[in-house]
Amino acid sequence: MTRADAKVLLEVKGLHANVAGVEILKGIDLVVRAGEVHAIMGPNGSGKSTFAKALAGHPAYEVTAGTATFEGRNIFDMAAEERARAGLFLGFQYPLEIPGVSNAAFLRLAYNTVQGARGKDELDPLEFDDYVREKMKLLEMDASFLDRSVNDGFSGGEKKRNEILQMALLEPRLAILDETDSGLDIDALRVVSGGVNRLLTRDNAVVLVTHYQRLLNYIVPDYVHVMEGGRIIKTGGRELAVELEARGYDWLKGKVAA
């Protein structure tokens, strides 16, 4: 759903970033408004995951040029946790396992930290338990996931559900979901994308980073951007994703977005 008068959430201009001294992002421009769904597609190595992590504040990604403002604030002046508290969320392609910390304790700590930073009420363990169980229904997750260690021994699909559960709890203004569809079978994909769809409102936005068009059958994007060589080389509507599915990425190579 796009509205020309909608509030700009994220504005990226001329973003360049290095990883271990190698330039991966070579000038990215992107504007995301409230209520929009964007898809960033592209072949492996095109820089789409790097873009996602640079926005979220991963320490290994060094921004060398350009700006990014999130609701008017320069996010490169903010630590990763400040970005999260401000409402920027990254769904990880490979969520990390933390044996020894229960999922319930982790989720509550994250929830209360973000709530506290936003001046909202924190929940005690009993209150939180009710709250999180309600959110878990959205993702058809069994309550036993609360007692297990964070992502420890979770299947690929379970980890991704747990990521979207965190999104549901932290209520971000902008969620960047990095390859959330990878490793999901068709049922899990339906559940996870159903969860994301129900979290979408006219006040928030989602950027889907994905290699395949498949996810976009479930979460319908307003814009599709194609990345190649560290730049967005083409932007279109949903039909662009369909065309990519049919023709692959090769026909776009060498083209530069107007």
Binding site: G57, H58, A84, L90, I98, P99, G100, T113, V114, S149
Partner: protein
């Protein structure tokens, strides 16, 4: 015939000052103490030139002229309350090495379970004590075990009769209250064939000062018997703690150790597990969490003497500040101890640039059909994990603390006493948050 023998090593001599070997009414006990006194006199304080002590310099210990503990008013029940484990139906408390009956509790043990002071036990269970006391913890080459044995007056006796189960954990609590004294705690634990026991052995302090604990524990586990042994060392930060624990396993015996090291300026824990019967099984879990200028040394020996033995060992160290942790784990497989299945893992987390760990696996295998795996890692918290937590709103420090806590939780969660798990989780969390 009370004698004071002039020791060759002046520091040992000072510790032996006043040690008499003549008052025993039981000749076997007198003989063992006399033999220990002789060895204590003959042995020197180990230095870093000794292979078994090369990482651990105990010179600071020898600079303090520790005196034997004297009888002082005992702490009140309120002071001791925080150390009490609610699950434990029976508790023996020792103050500066001496039995404190008024701080002990016995909620009614079933027939076939005895938890009492060694002195009292001699009257009723003399033959059990004679069979095991000073028979497992070898003092011939170990000056601190020899000192303890020479100084042996009292201690704890836990005995579980054949095929009996001790229904609740037994807590042995050793508290220090005096400055500059040396205490010599002693425990004898015997589980006869088919018996089951959970034991919590704890060393703690009511005061923050320098004292010396020289402890010896012996655990004998009969055929098919099972002992779960939690050892908690949280001495004062300025204290010295040197302890030997010797475990003897008979056929199909099962032993699980959960050894937690938190306290003391310098500490040393020697744990030896000797498998004297076929099919015995041992699990050794250890966690050392130290900071500041602490030094904590754990030496373990798993001696597979018979076929079909199985052992699993996980030792973890979390080292902050300018602290120094040592782990030396020896696995020995005797000739003929075929089909031994042994795995050892040493994992270490350094929290600062000045933190230091020495980890040394040693395998001595003299049988050819065995499985012996070992591995060691030393690392810092991983940036990817920190970023994951920060991306969920946690500050970097909070993320570090949570991951540090998680690293220790793997060992703590295995402790078979829920209240202790909870207490230790809080301790570790508080310890890791002190920098926050």
């Amino acid at each position: 015939m009370s004698t004071v023998v002039g020791a060759t090593h002046p520091y040992i001599a000072s510790l032996l000052n006043g040690c008499e070997s003549g008052h025993d009414q039981l000749s076997w006990l007198g003989e063992r103490r006399a033999a220990a006194l002789e060895r204590a006199n003959a042995l020197a304080v180990p230095t870093t030139r000794d292979e078994e002590w090369r990482f651990t310099d105990i010179t600071p210990l020898t600079r303090v002229p520790f005196q034997p503990a004297v009888a002082v008013p005992h702490p009140g029940a309120d002071d001791v309350a925080k150390f009490i484990i609610p699950e434990a139906g029976v508790r023996l408390t020792f103050v500066d090495g001496m039995f404190a009956p008024e701080l002990s509790a016995n909620a009614g043990l079933p027939y076939g379970v005895v938890v009492t002071s060694l002195a009292a036990g001699l009257a009723t269970h003399g033959s059990v004590i004679e069979r095991h006391l000073a028979r497992h913890a070898r003092f011939e080459q170990d000056v601190f075990a020899a000192l303890n044995t020479a100084r042996l007056r009292d201690g704890a006796l836990v005995w579980v009769a054949k095929n009996q189960q001790c229904p609740t954990p037994v807590q042995l609590l050793f508290l220090s209250t005096q400055k500059a004294v040396a205490a010599y705690p002693r425990c004898l634990v015997v589980a006869e064939a088919g018996a089951e026991l959970t034991l919590v052995e704890e060393y703690a302090s009511l005061v923050d000062n320098a004292y010396f604990t020289d402890a010896v524990t012996e655990v004998a586990i009969g055929d098919g018997a099972q002992v779960r042994h939690v050892r908690l060392q949280r001495e004062a930060r300025d204290a010295f703690h040197i302890a030997t624990c010797a475990v003897a396993l008979a056929k199909d015996a099962n032993y699980a150790s959960h050894a937690i090291t938190l306290g003391a300026r310098i500490s040393r824990h020697d744990l030896s597990v000797r498998q004297g019967g076929e099919g015995a099984e041992a699990r050794l879990d250890g966690l050392t969490l130290i900071g500041g200028r602490q030094l904590a040394d754990t030496h373990t020996l798993l001696d597979h003497g018979r076929p079909n033995g199985r052992s699993r060992q996980l030792h973890k160290c979390i080292v902050g500040g300018a602290a120094h942790a040592v782990f030396s784990g020896k696995i020995a497989v005797a000739p003929g101890a075929q089909l031994t299945d042994s795995a050892q893992e040493s994992r270490n987390l350094l929290l600062s640039n000045k933190a230091h760990v020495d980890t040394k696996p040693q395998l001595e295998i003299f049988a050819d059909d065995v499985k012996c795996a070992h591995g060691a890692t030393v690392g810092q918290l991983e940036a990817e994990h920190l970023f994951y937590l920060q991306s969920r709103g946690l500050s970097e420090q909070r993320a570090r603390n949570l991951l540090t806590y998680a690293f220790g939780a793997e060992v703590i969660d295995g402790i078979p006493v829920p209240s202790l798990v909870e207490q230790l989780e809080e301790t570790v969390l508080a310890e890791t948050q002190s920098a926050e």
